[in-house]
Assembly symmetry: C2
Homo-oligomer: 385 residues x 2
């Protein structure tokens, strides 16, 4: 092929294109403007402006047995402008709202770190800074999410990208049509923002989704073309899946009615990842509704696998005190508490006093996991729920 060796061209600035707001953008703007209107209205009526912010704390989180996910309660904290202790965070909250409005108006997105840098300045006529560190700004952004009832992604904020997908699905992503069945060994890097106005499902012939914990395991499944043989989508989240991956799984599960099977390690961390995919996390309870998959199944390694698969003791990893403590905590999660099979599973893990990683199956053959272990579990309907 022809070789190139050019210096970069002189750049000529283009005129910015007019921004086309999506229906989601319009709805988010309305919510943000509603917050601003409350300030104006309070001022007009000669009242002290305030915000009632839903309490993001363990005390205000509960497991909804009907919906089968963790949700926030109704407690709120009042944040007032004319209160010496609250004025700063009140101002920060409105600043974050204004920052996100600016992003939507400009048709741009940024990271929460980016928004922090954007909002950071010295307040005019004072020596005070708007934010002293990113921790302050991150907390205020989470407040804003619940306050404006908008996902972070709808506020045009993205997280770091992790996780990939391959399989028989065609997506439209920012105008490009992407066939995830033709991605080679690389895969489609799952974006951080996968809301319906940005990512559209065009065609999908898959029967289910197989979600694996780690990128290295995903590579094994992809190289063995598991997704082709079993007609499924294959995703991973590089450990604890980031928001983009969870949201995409949620959307595909609900909009395409695809069951989700998770291949995770037999250790407290693997069980915790499953729990977050299924029921949500306590920290981000506000987002459960649009993130969790209560029907997700666990087809990962099990505490009986040493015997069942005839594995050697020397591929096990001894549990430490933290592991034991975490396992006991997870057993007591309300959504595991009522489930006999999960109780037995975690009890057996504690009894074993060792952990088993998916990779340990390699001891039985490089492709044992893709050709025997997972296919057998799926065929037998042998999963934890």
């Amino acid at each position: 092929m022809a070789k190139k060796k050019h210096a970069p061209k002189k750049f000529v600035a283009e005129k910015p294109k007019p921004v086309k707001l999506t229906p989601i953008d319009k709805s988010t703007l309305t919510k943000l403007e509603g917050l601003a209107d409350k300030v104006v209205n309070a001022a007009m009526r000669g009242r002290d402006p305030f915000l009632d912010i839903p309490t993001r704390a363990l005390s205000n989180v509960r497991f909804n047995k009907t919906k089968r996910y963790i949700e926030m309660g109704k407690n709120t904290n009042r944040r007032e402008l004319f209160n010496l202790n609250q004025a700063r965070s009140y101002m920060q909250t409105l600043l974050a709202g204004s920052g996100c409005k600016g992003l939507i108006d400009e048709g741009k997105t940024t990271s929460i770190r980016g928004l922090y840098y954007r909002m950071k300045h010295t307040i005019e006529g004072a020596k005070e800074e708007t934010f002293n560190n990113q921790g302050e700004s991150d907390a205020v952004i989470e407040d804003l999410e619940v306050l404006a009832n908008s996902l972070r992604e709808e506020l045009h904020l993205y997280a770091d990208k992790r996780g990939e997908m391959v399989g028989p699905i065609v997506l439209e992503d920012m105008g490009d049509e992407i066939d995830c069945a033709r991605m080679g060994s690389g895969g489609y890097g799952i974006p951080s923002i996968v809301e319906p106005d940005r990512i559209k499902f065009k065609r999908c012939t898959a029967d289910f989704i197989l979600h694996v914990e780690k990128g290295t395991v995903w590579q094994r499944f992809n190289e063995d073309k598991f997704w082709k043989k079993h007609n499924c989508l294959l995703t991973h989240g590089a450990g604890q899946p980031p928001r983009g991956v969870r949201r995409l799984l949620h959307r595909m599960h609900n909009e395409l009615e695809l069951p989700v099977y998770c291949v995770l390690d037999n250790d407290p961390w693997g069980y915790y990842i499953y729990s977050v995919i299924k029921q949500g996390s306590i920290n981000l309870a506000f987002e459960s509704q649009r993130m969790t998959i209560p029907d997700a199944k666990f087809v990962g390694l099990r505490s009986i696998d040493l015997e069942r698969c005839g594995l050697d003791m020397n591929v096990t990893i001894k549990m430490n005190d933290t592991d034991r403590k975490r396992a006991k905590q997870i057993m007591k999660y309300p959504w595991f508490e009522g489930k006999k099979r999960w109780q037995k599973e975690i009890e057996k893990m504690l009894q074993n006093d060792f952990k088993l990683e998916v990779e340990s199956l390699i001891n039985l053959g490089i492709s044992y996991v893709t050709e025997t272990y997972v296919p057998e579990r799926l065929a037998e309907g042998d999963w934890l729920d």
Copy 2:
């Protein structure tokens, strides 16, 4: 679109396809078999078998001023079978060689963790295990690389996948043709193994490569379609780029003759990343030849940018003791030592006593970095080298 809800199908095992060895595979096998032959030959001649393993230590690493990268010296350590202190690591080295031969024979790849699990077993008739932990196995794999003069990827071992690419290049990846100009917001997930037998460059019209440090910054450049406006490839390595990203950059730089520009932070870590891309790392000096890009340019943030860009002091990050120590170390790297501009740059950073992240430019506008900062540097030829 039509909705689906199927249970996974019953799996019918396929007959394994005959493995087709690539020219790279054949050459790697020859090298591995050469190692095994040495054992046989020694035995036949009644001699004690041994391996001479190139020393992987600082004392055996030097900066080659002509080649402009870090390379290994010629020192070796002898590892003997009939030596009580060396028998174990001798056996482990051959076991790793045999494990990698098995992978190539089977036409499969795995992670270094996977190979560890594959090799781990209790030695027959003894209580001794082949490997006690992955640390032992990782070190032996690095020995094998230098011993067999083969990159890890040629031994069919992969690292965790990180990093993505978009831009006007069409690749062939495991038989799929991938157009990186049609990847939406997601991007092509750069594989861990990008050797020429797996990744082929089909068409490329780009003029250069812009490599950015972090995924969040990459998202900004991708959203602003920087790569379209400036006709370049846009990559990131999620921090310190993993081997796959470094190797792909190296291949594209050399085979497609594309200059590489790096957008990194103004801090010791950013400078270190640049140093590794450009001259290689001390730990992996063996691979410099096929990984480093001595001509890579630094267009990241500079110590003069507070004044030059009119940034506010409050977007700076104070240096700590570790930062100061690292900066002084980097100043003394032989490849920075002779360069006046780099010396001035790092001296000024130490004088500033603060760091500047690429994201801090957001304070001047969401797209300041993509529309002003980087285009100006490129147009003016204003980079560090």
